[in-house]
Amino acid sequence: MNIWEIIIITVIKIGAILTIMLLTVSYLVYFERRISAWIQSRLGPNRVGWEGILQPFADVFKLLLKEDISPVAANKFIHGLAPFIAVFVAFSTYAVIPIGPDVTIFGYSIQLVVADVNIGVLYVLALTSLGVYGLTFAGWSSGSKYSLLGGIRSSAQMISYEVSMGFSVGGVLLMAGSLSPIAIVEAQYGWMWNAIVQPIGFITFTVAAFAETNRLPFDLPEAEPELVGGYHTEYSSMKFAGFFLAEYANMIIAAGMIVTLYLGGWQVPYIDKLGLGEIVTALMQVGSFFVKMGAILFFFIWVRWSIPRFRYDQLMNLGWKVMFPLSLINIVWVAALIMIFNL
């Protein structure tokens, strides 16, 4: 493959992933609304298109047509910049998450990931930490007390939970012996899924993922009853849509990361033993990735409509006094496993 082919293939992959992301985000919102409705014995949006499937597009049009307001007291530049940071970070993170094994199409062997970065996991952790700047900037620049409180909460929460998240990932890295997502996936061959091998790590990572994505029960930065809308109180129109998009994109990334790190990524246990053709196998594997991710996303939504919000002190307690020790225990556990079974 020459350099042009690589560039073209990468551009195609970027395009494909972006499209998938945007569509998934839209439909995630749609499903969130419908599932929440079902949980509450309602019907949810079912008017636009069959069963309301065109609702996301209607929403986008609506947001496009809304007036873009920025408060007098706002720092206009940063106020405008913040949603871009949030969106940019959310979308670039996705580059390193593999959705399937290498496949050969038209004679090209293609990795089903935009960039196989060998420090992929670090990249994700780094970018998600950057993402919080978007929220903090938004909160600070709006010139509103609610936004400011939301922004501060968001950064404090991010710092608290990043620690346990990082330590949980530590266990996975120990098992895989690599920072590359692809290597991590491949290390979970068969039933050696990290969720099974190190359940504590799985739980702490999942909880931390909830916190990082500002989802209920950890949505304190935008807690409506107390902060109106938190950091995005003063946003409207497409700038607001930016945050909205970023939040749901973050959910997808979190789900992708959980699948990659703990649920064997695209792997279907022992599928290679069935002797199917390469294309079929690859398709099934890609499919399995999406199924797993869908399940996690459903779980995200399901939790949101079942569990009430934490109080701020409870959130901090949980982060530092429970999650952090647990993730440390997980590392010791994994290390012990490795020592005993000499994995």
């Binding site: 599932i35 079902w38 509450q40």
Partner: protein
């Protein structure tokens, strides 16, 4: 003030919250498959029970005359000052009748006091909850919109006889 003692101290298991969380999740999961209570308005309309207090209307007898004698009691009792009655003399036996009778639906709070105070059972709360206007003037309902034939109000009148 003394510190209130908890009714029950939590056990370690309780403190984990996990069992409760799973119970909660199970509950919401189950309710996803329960029948829905939403009505798909406007195709399906809510048919309120007789006790429902929709917009107040004037009872029109079979002969086309309103029952109201323009005594102004509803107007006086209305806490929102929604009702304005202008009386005049009529040749009919009831002597006085409302020359104009207006209810400002923007002011009305559907309390039903007018119905309760009316000595003639002439103003009753209907089942009509569809009140839409695009300007303040349209929200003032005159006799043309307020008069409803008595047979359409049977439900409510019966309800009033039984429970008022």
């Amino acid at each position: 003030m003394g510190v209130k003692k908890r009714q029950k101290d939590l056990t370690t298991l309780d403190k984990l919250y996990l069992p409760e969380i799973f119970k909660g999740l199970a509950l919401t999961f189950k309710s996803m498959f329960k029948p829905k209570v939403t009505m798909e308005y406007p195709e399906v309309k809510f048919e309120p029970p007789a006790s429902y207090r929709g917009r107040p209307v004037l009872v029109q007898e079979e002969n086309g005359v309103e029952r109201c004698v323009a005594c102004g009691l509803c107007s006086r009792v209305c806490p929102a000052l929604a009702i304005e009655v202008r009386a005049n003399e009529t040749e009919l036996e009831k002597e006085r009748y409302p020359e104009t009778f207006e209810i400002n639906m923007i002011r009305c709070i559907f309390c039903g006091f007018c119905e309760e105070v009316c000595p003639e059972e002439a103003i009753v709360m209907s089942k009509d909850y569809e009140l839409v206007f695009t300007n303040r003037e349209d929200a003032v309902y005159g006799k043309d919109k307020l008069l409803v034939p008595v047979h359409k109000l049977k439900d409510r009148l019966e309800f009033l006889r039984n429970f008022k």
